[in-house]
């Protein structure tokens, strides 16, 4: 089990209601051995960061398909840092145009996953980041 012993939060920040991707990832990470905390829809960055700290997670995964990823990732990163969890990496999934990658990475996104990326590769990437 590549993610045995890891605790990972999968969150849906903002108002986007497309949760198929987030749930696919949550189910996949759980089967890869991780303990997954899935927040459900429409959570604020503040809420997500608080849960991440309370639950002492190893990573936060955010799913955004509404085009608001830059704002929502930035706000979540700020909140995590504010709560003293600057070391928790964020990974991001959704409809993320290539031209945004650089800016997102500079805002502290450890990995970006798009719909077509094979799930094995998602798990391997997270494993590498958390190693």
């Amino acid at each position: 089990m590549p993610l045995q012993g890891k605790r990972i939060l999968v969150g849906k920040p903002g108002l986007d209601g497309h949760d198929a991707g987030a749930k696919i990832i949550a189910l996949t990470l759980r089967d890869a051995g991780a303990e997954v905390i899935y927040t459900g829809l429409r959570k604020t960055p503040d809420y997500i960061a608080r849960v991440a700290v309370d639950e002492d997670v190893d990573a936060v995964g955010l799913s955004v398909l509404s085009g608001s990823h830059k704002e929502l990732v930035g706000l979540t990163r700020e909140k995590l840092d504010e709560f003293g969890a600057g070391d928790i990496p964020i990974f991001l999934g959704g409809t993320i145009p290539k031209q945004d990658y650089q800016e997102l990475e500079s805002r502290g996104v450890a990995a970006i996953f798009t719909a077509e990326m094979p799930l094995d590769q998602v798990v391997a990437t997270i494993e590498r980041i958390l190693r």
Partner: protein, 518 residues
């Protein structure tokens, strides 16, 4: 679906599917099919400000679009005003911001609502947006009875696939029934609901589940209306449906033929509906969605053309073809035009409209239609056995079932069972890198402009009147005896905002609590 290598006459139960225009309408709801009238080309569009979107609507109409389809932003869909903290980063993103009547007046400026049909993808706040549409018509002197179009107004699938719910299930069902009953009375040519399997499909379920869930939800609305004392022979004439078409060409066609037959039969068996118009299963479709890929985006033009054909062989009343860049951005004018041209090529060059249901009588298509009908009815039975769709949703059962299907589709794509050209097969060099043509540039000032306009409305309207209307709405919502639509129309006329109206209703009803279950 597993299909035999060849289908012969003896494998089809009823070799004769009847004639178009006669119940149960397997071959179509009109006897003359598209010869009488082509399907509506309805391109979904909306972004940023009402001004910018109005410009795009005029562009699409000028290019030959025959109906409008309004995309609203998430704050409007979820019932938040643009200056609400929950709206941060979301204003004008996936659609246009429409917080009050002043914005609606700008959005439809110069467009005669009496001569165009408008489809609005709105659910949680559908009653409010519909009320706003009626108010714009009032303001511009268009008789309410002349309004044609559709609001989606299908909350049940929001709880399980699309996520723009606001209130708990019970009061939401009441609000939907209120809208349908009011619309039948005041805007008789308007479709007050479009029962949509599309989003469940796009989330990852197959055609069978899409059809089964959609019809199960449809029956739940019929039950609600019948419980209110409404006559199904009347209101069922105005129920409409909405589906996705993905790449399983023949299954998609069979899905629509089976849907028509099954819906007519269920209405007849369960509610004794006899009115031929009430038995008609009318539907719009969207071609594209998650069948499109961000890799090699021009491939999507071919996909959408094939899906468009399936929709037309299936007898769709209206079709929206996604633009090829829609997998990663709001379409540009170029890509939006190409998507519309795809429909026009099919309609005016291919001859597909020359005869009704050209595939009728094909052993394979009839066999598939029968299978689809049986399997969809089985899905309906499973949900009813669990306790009905409301219980399925409140328990999170349906959501978990959809998530499992979504994952299965993803796994089948990863392992190559489901071939996606350019993505998991026949990839280009450069790691399937998007070859972006023109890029849509989102106006970064849109959100600020929208909030500024909202502040101006709050300053210039008669605030005492807005408050009076809102209080009357809240009082009516506290009991069960009143239809809320007249109150909502009044609130809209007083320039009350979506957030204000939703806020008053939340005071009485609370909010839906999502069951989080994996």
């Amino acid at each position: 679906m597993d299909v035999p290598p060849v289908v012969t006459a003896d494998m089809v139960n009823s070799a004769d599917p009847g004639v178009p225009g006669q119940a149960p309408y397997t071959r179509g709801i009109f006897k003359d099919g598209y010869r009488g009238r082509l399907w509506t080309f309805r391109q979904y569009s909306g972004f940023g400000t009402a001004e910018g979107t109005n410009e795009r609507y005029r562009f699409l109409l000028e290019k030959g679009s025959t109906g409008l389809s309004v995309a609203l932003d998430l704050p409007t869909q979820c019932g938040y005003d643009p200056d609400d903290p929950m709206s941060a980063g979301e204003v004008g993103k996936v659609g246009v911001s429409l917080s009050n009547l002043a914005e609606a007046e700008i959005l439809f400026d110069g467009i005669d609502l009496g001569s165009i049909s408008t489809s609005i993808t709105i659910n949680g706040s559908a009653a409010i947006v519909y009320a706003m549409y009626v108010a714009v018509a009032d303001k511009t002197g268009v008789p309410r009875a002349a309004l044609t179009g559709t609001i989606q107004n299908d909350i049940l699938k929001e709880y399980c696939a699309r996520g723009t719910w606001i209130f708990p299930v019970r009061p939401s069902m009441r609000l939907i029934a209120d809208t349908i009953l009011y619309s039948n009375e005041h805007t008789p040519r308007f479709n007050p609901i479009s029962i949509a399997g599309a989003h469940v499909r796009d989330a990852g379920v197959d055609e069978v589940e899409e059809l089964g869930y959609t019809l199960a939800n449809g029956l739940a609305y019929v039950d609600e209306l019948v419980a209110r004392g409404a006559d199904p022979n009347r209101f069922a004439r105005r129920l409409s449906f909405f589906f996705y078409v993905h790449m399983n060409f023949f299954e998609e066609i069979a899905k629509f033929r089976a849907g028509r037959r099954l819906w007519a039969r269920l209405l007849k068996e369960r509610y004794g509906v006899t009115d031929p118009k009430a038995l008609m299963f009318r539907f719009g479709v969207v071609c594209g969605g998650s069948s499109l890929t961000a890799a090699q985006p021009y491939n999507n033009i071919a996909r959408v053309a094939i899906e468009n054909m399936a929709a037309v062989f299936g007898g769709a009343q209206s079709v929206f073809t996604c633009a090829h860049d829609e997998a990663y951005q709001i379409p540009t004018e170029f890509s939006a035009e190409t998507a519309l041209r795809t429909q026009q090529i099919l309609a005016y060059e291919s001859g597909i409209d020359k005869t009704v249901d050209p595939l009728g009588g094909s052993y394979y298509v009839e066999w598939l239609t029968e299978k689809m009908e049986q399997k969809a009815e089985q899905v309906i039975g499973e949900l009813e056995q669990y306790g009905g769709v409301e219980k399925c949703i409140e328990d999170g059962y349906l959501q978990a079932r959809i998530a499992a299907s979504a994952r299965e589709r993803k796994v089948r794509t990863d392992n190559g069972d489901r071939v996606v050209v350019g993505e998991n097969a026949f990839r280009s060099n450069g790691d399937g890198e998007n070859e972006f043509g023109e890029v849509f540039r989102f106006d970064p000032a849109a959100s600020g402009k929208v909030i500024e306009k909202l502040e101006r409305v709050r300053q210039t309207r008669d605030n005492a009147e807005a408050d009076r209307c809102l209080s009357a709405l809240e009082k009516a919502a506290s009991g069960n005896s009143k239809n809320l639509l007249p109150y909502l129309v009044e609130c809209c006329h007083a320039y009350a905002t979506v957030g204000e109206m939703v806020g008053r209703l939340k005071n009485q009803w609370g909010e839906f609590r999502e069951p989080v279950r994996l």
